[in-house]
Amino acid sequence: MSSPEAPQNPMSGGLFGNTPPEAVIMQGIMESCPAKVVISGGAGFGLGLAFGTFMSSVDWGSNTEEFRNLSTREQIRLTLKDMGAKSYSSAKNFAVVGAVFSGTECLIETYRAKNDMWNGISAGCITGGVLAARAGPQAALFGCGGFAAFSAVIDYWLRHHD
């Protein structure tokens, strides 16, 4: 059992076959496609909430005369409601994007049985295309290209940095 070249006894699970079965099952579940979709969707939702809260501070036409005539309490209430609505819609968008991207990438990787950048690029193209599909084929093409390029940059940075 000292070196990998020494013949390994298959009944002892190879060289380090001493992981408890619960850990193996847990790892299998974490790596399965549905779990990845859920996790990515959840992460996208959280990110969308933060992003929406941040972006709702940009003034989108709420500084009207009648708004300024309301009481402060009323103004605060309306502002918070607007923030909440924008955050929620942004969160839903990001969750959908994350889920679709992650699910597609997982399916492609399962099909190819390889792990390289092309999984992310293809998944990005499909996600961008699907998201922009209702704006016509040219928009779908641009969405595909843009999202694929974005995914390629992120993957490249993740794989080749330090």
Binding site: Q8, P10, G14, Q27, T110, A113, N115
Partner: protein, 112 residues
């Protein structure tokens, strides 16, 4: 052992019986030893076959499925899927070639 009145003939006969019994005992002990040896040898060969098979699977699936550039220590999804399929295919190929070999051996036997 004194046989007294029974005479030298009876003594010789019983000596012969004792000698034959000893020989049978010795030969059955030898047989037992031979069988044990054969059994242990078969067990050893089987263990060695299984170990060789295991190491061959590990080597060939590792070469096929895991690219040489390591970015992380755990198996990712693509590699896990590849290894599952590799092991399954290895056994399938093994079984199929075994069939063909035993078929060829049978044919060879019948021709002879």
């Amino acid at each position: 052992m004194s046989f007294g009145a029974f005479g030298a003939g009876a003594a010789a006969q019983s000596n012969l019986n004792i000698a034959m019994a000893e020989q049978e005992l010795v030969s059955s002990a030898e047989q037992h030893w031979c069988m044990t040896l054969l059994f242990k040898f078969t067990v050893y060969l089987t263990q060695e076959m299984v170990t060789t098979l295991f190491n061959n699977i590990v080597d060939s699936c590792h070469k096929k499925c895991i690219p040489p550039r390591y970015t992380e220590e755990d198996l990712n999804k693509g590699e896990s899927v590849c290894i599952d399929r590799c092991v399954s295919k290895y056994f399938a190929v093994n079984a199929k070639i075994g069939e063909k070999l035993s078929g060829a051996a049978q044919q060879g036997q019948m021709v002879r």
